[in-house]
């Protein structure tokens, strides 16, 4: 159905031309699902855009052929390509929050393809849109069709986008990270929907994702992309269970698994090669623990049994597992002093926000209307010194607000907070000096939480200076030791945020939190913005720091597997309340609360039973 041969795509950038794809060949059979897997920068979205003929102006295609149903779409006139798009091939994008036009009704956006491809009248297209919304499991489709995007939840928007893609009965559906922006429970529903649609309509799908667990549920074939090349391709189960190419091995080893305990995660050191002049030999060699002198020679994608691998050493590596390099030796597990007083005690914390206030008319009388939510509703938690309390929940459950309320970054409405024996909930902000030193925070997005105009040295030196932790002359030395702590070389002190990768920036974020020698750190989704291999390194780092310094964490994440890996105890949050709290193993193996069970069963896994369809009926969000 879709055949891509030797496709090379280059982008012109101010820094020079980069090669996003190098001689990619994939073939999606009619009715099959192929998954393209890779981390950011691997070029996987470029494949989707190229197939749709939607590459931006900066892109050039020096070589390659893309054939859809036997017709070369690259030699086709632009008008013919447009008529194919949205008609016989459709694309579902990653982020349902930005791909719907904010000022058009859902029904119009779902049905408009029909107006231009199938000569429907506007009214008929709208009516068909309602049927399609119904098909993708949206409750009350008439009302949703008349709604605007901002009135819908993320899951509903993604359903609407899928409905729009299905409108003109396409033969090929390309999905570019369709569930990445969604919560696990919603993700499970969308995957279920895709499976149903695939069976019902005999869809051919090209599924792009970085999440191997998701891929496993949906794809027959997997192609692993690294730095613009396919490094391994084969049947999904084969590759997920017995990866051959070192990168595929590393990628799989880096994923924290539910139920697997407490070793350090396997990280992939290093970073992507410079794609302006990609290495002639193996592009992964610089990060590969198995690299041999042969790796410097050009590597070809060759057959190895049922699969294809781009590695000269493939035969020898077939049964070798990814080594546990870790980020240093796994230290002695930290054991908290048995009867020590908790470092953080929060009792009966509550916080609510007013979403909108104004007035509306009740009959003829104007009346005040106030809409409030309560993201933190009567919550009590305790955290022991050196303990990691994991906090999981879906977006909007109040995790972040709770973390910030404990640090008084958000003012609580009621309740008491004690940190390191000091009651901090009733003090004015200016009297919180001691607490600000003892308790720190690491934010989710290192791009926006590091001041772009300051060097790393200035960022790390500032808290040391502010709290008078070292004489001015000693600050550079302290900065160096902080960098060493998070395993960054000392010369990074002169760098600015934009000169570092995402993982390096997050290390700086952690170093900044450590600068005041805190005893407690709120980690608010510290790895959510990072690739799996980088995520593993950061999680290992956090674990090491806990073991060496005895810092306690409140580790907030929507990713249960990461939380389960790192945390001693886990608290599950739902609608502003903690519905279940207990030892990590117990929560993972024997969850009690129905919401915890639902959350756990929705996690797509790379191991365990293959498909877990059926028990998650599509539900309204």
């Amino acid at each position: 159905m879709l055949q891509i041969d030797d496709l090379t795509v280059r982008y012109r950038t101010p820094g020079g031309e980069i090669e996003a794809l190098s001689s990619i060949s994939v073939n999606v059979e009619k009715g099959a699902t192929l998954a393209l897997v890779g981390e950011s920068g691997s070029g996987k979205s470029t494949v989707a855009l190229a197939a749709m003929g939607l590459l931006p102006h900066e892109a050039t295609i020096p070589a390659g052929r893309i054939a859809f149903d036997g017709n070369d779409i690259m030699t086709m006139p632009a008008e013919a390509r447009r008529q194919l798009r949205g008609s016989r091939m459709a694309l579902v994008f990653q982020d349902p929050f930005s791909v719907l036009n904010p000022s058009l009704r859902i029904g119009e956006q779902v049905g408009e393809g029909l107006v231009y491809h199938r000569d429907f009248s506007t009214e008929r297209a709208f009516a068909r849109a309602i049927e399609l919304l119904d098909e993708v499991g949206i409750v009350n489709p008439e009302a949703v069709a008349k709604a605007y995007p901002h009135e819908l939840s993320g899951g509903m928007r993604q359903r609407a986008l899928i409905a729009g893609a299905l409108a003109s009965e396409p033969d090929l559906l390309i999905l570019d990270e369709p569930t990445t922006a969604l919560d696990v429970t919603i993700e499970a529903q969308i995957l279920e929907l895709l499976e149903q649609l695939r069976i019902r309509r005999g869809l051919t799908m090209l599924f792009i994702s970085h999440n191997l667990g998701v891929v496993r549920r949906i794809a027959d074939q997997v192609a692993v992309l690294y730095a613009g090349q396919i490094v391994e391709q084969g049947a999904t189960e084969d590759i997920l269970h017995r990866p051959v190419h070192p990168y595929a091995k590393g990628l799989l080893a880096a994923i924290p698994r539910l139920g697997e305990k407490k070793q350090r995660l396997a990280a992939i050191p290093g970073r992507l090669p410079d794609l302006r002049k990609p290495p002639v030999g193996c592009r992964f060699a610089g990060r590969c623990p198995f690299a041999t002198p042969d790796s410097a020679a050009p590597q070809i994608l060759r057959d190895l049994g049922d699969r294809k691998v781009r590695c000269t050493n493939a035969e020898h590596l077939r049964d070798t597992p990814w080594p546990h390099l870790g980020d240093g030796a796994p230290g002695e597990a930290f054991t908290a002093p048995v009867d020590s007083a908790p470092i953080v005690v929060a009792q009966k914390l509550s916080k609510s926000f007013t979403l909108s206030s104004g007035f509306s008319f009740k009959g003829w009388r104007p009346a005040a209307t106030v809409k409030r939510i309560k993201p933190v509703d009567d919550i009590s938690v305790e955290i022991a010194p050196g303990e990691v309390l994991g906090l999981v929940g879906e977006s909007g459950s109040g995790k972040t607000t709770l973390g910030r309320t404990i640090l008084r970054l958000v003012e609580p409405e009621s309740g008491t907070i004690r940190i390191a024996g000091e009651t901090v909930s009733d003090k004015p902000q200016r009297a919180l000096e001691a607490m600000r030193r003892t308790a720190q925070i690491v934010f989710q997005n290192p791009d926006s939480s590091l001041n772009p105009r300051k060097t790393v040295g200035e960022l790390l030196g500032r808290p040391i200076e502010r709290f008078g932790l070292a004489p001015k002359a000693d600050i550079p030395a302290r900065v160096r030791s902080l960098l060493d702590l998070v395993r960054l070389p000392a010369h990074y002190a002169d760098r600015y945020a934009h000169q570092m990768s995402g993982g390096e920036k997050q290390r700086v974020g952690i170093a900044r939190a450590l600068a005041t020698e805190p005893r407690f750190i709120v980690c608010d989704e510290p790895v959510s913005a990072l690739d799996v291999s980088v995520q593993a390194a950061i999680v290992n780092l956090l674990a090491d720091l806990r073991d060496r310094l005895g810092v306690a964490y409140l580790f907030i994440s929507h990713d249960i597997s990461v939380v389960a890996h790192l945390a001693d105890r886990v608290a599950v949050m739902h609608l502003g309340k903690i519905v279940e709290i207990g030892a990590a193993d117990e929560i993972m193996n024997a969850p009690q609360h129905p919401y915890t069970i639902k959350l756990l069963s929705a996690v797509p896994r790379v191991d365990g039973p293959a498909r877990q369809t059926g028990h998650l009926a599509a539900q309204p969000d």
């Binding site: 749709m52 939607l54 447009r82 008529q83 194919l84 798009r85 949205g86 008609s87 459709a90 694309l91 994008f93 982020d95 930005s98 791909v99 719907l100 036009n101 904010p102 000022s103 058009l104 408009e112 393809g113 231009y116 491809h117 605007y148 901002h150 009135e151 986008l161 729009g164 979403l355 909108s356 104004g358 007035f359 509306s360 008319f361 104007p366 809409k371």
Partner: protein
């Protein structure tokens, strides 16, 4: 929606009350005695006093304001001290003539400005885009009286196509009426194109790069639909706000343009009443300008709500 409109209308009323106080306050506090002005420099103090009593100038300021403002509400705008005629009809004539001028100019600014902005956005970085930028910037960079003089030199003196000044009522023939409108309209349009076209261009470029436009293209919609239906709708939002402000600036522009072209509208009436210390006429004129300004903004807000569903009905919950 009703609640939203009511709230906005209340706001407009408040603004107008505040403006009327300011206008009244300033003209009352200004040096110069109205009675002296009317009677001339040879008046005796007794005559002045009698006239002051008659005009109520010895009453407390708030009473004077009340008399003036309540007169406004009942349609009695007072009497022009210079022409000794009721201000109402005088002002109505001037407003209708000025609205013809500003209406035509505004229409052209919207149509040409949006058009240039869209074209520039679609061709951005290319010669046509730079040409449009330079042209519109020239328009805004030179003051209106400069353009007025150029227009007169080119179209009236050299080409002889247009009359150099004046106004003819429609009753003297539509052609003749329109001919007198063209020159001042060109002048006003030249000075105001840059705002609209530049803003439309930049918001259009931004919107065209947003994911939902790629999504619209992925649906295989014709480019015309992508640009005019999907992109323009969202790109218009900032332009609408600026258009309302531009309408206010047009009201300022007519003061210059009407003076240069001897066009008997609101602008000239204002200049005329300032030069002759015709304070009641000045007060009424300024209040009218303020009202037009406020209503234009109200209209823009409503239009904004029409195009941006997020602020409609106040039901936005983030």
């Amino acid at each position: 929606m009703t609640a939203y409109i009511t709230r906005r209308l209340l706001f407009v009323v408040l603004v107008l009350v505040a403006v009327s106080m300011l206008v009244f306050g300033i003209t009352v506090l200004l040096p110069g005695n109205v009675a002296y002005l009317i009677l001339g420099q040879f008046a005796t103090p007794e005559q002045v006093h009698v006239l002051e009593l008659k005009l109520g100038l010895t009453d407390p300021v708030w009473l004077q304001y009340w008399r003036w403002a309540s007169g406004f509400l009942t349609g009695d705008l007072g009497v022009s001290t210079l022409m000794d005629r009721p201000i109402g009809p005088l002002l109505a004539d001037a407003i209708s003539r000025s609205l013809m001028l500003t209406g035509a100019s505004f229409f052209l600014i919207v149509v040409i400005g949006l058009g240039l902005g869209i074209v520039a956005a679609l061709r951005h970085g290319r010669p046509l885009d730079h040409g449009i930028s330079i042209g519109t910037y020239l328009g805004i960079a030179a003051p209106e009286f400069f353009w007025a003089i150029i227009v007169i030199i080119v179209f009236a003196a050299w080409l002889g196509w247009l009359p150099s000044s004046g106004y003819e009522p429609i009753s003297s023939g539509v052609g003749n009426w329109a001919l007198h409108l063209i020159a001042p309209t060109i002048t006003l349009v030249l000075g105001h194109l840059a705002h609209v076209s530049r803003l439309t261009r930049s918001s259009m470029i931004e919107v065209l790069e947003s994911p939902y436009i790629t999504a619209a293209r992925a649906k295989g919609l014709p480019e015309r639909v992508v640009v005019l239906h999907h992109a323009l709708r969202n790109a218009l939002l900032p332009t609408i706000t600026v258009l309302a402000l531009d309408f206010g600036r047009l009201m300022g522009g007519i003061v210059v343009v009407e003076t240069v072209f001897a066009y008997p509208g609101l602008g000239r009436l204002i200049i005329f009443s300032i030069q002759n210390r015709d304070i009641p006429t000045l007060q009424a004129s300024i209040l009218v300008v303020a009202a037009i300004y406020a209503l234009a903004n109200l209209f823009a807000d409503l239009l904004y709500a029409r195009f941006n569903p997020k602020i409609r009905y106040g039901r936005n919950v983030g």
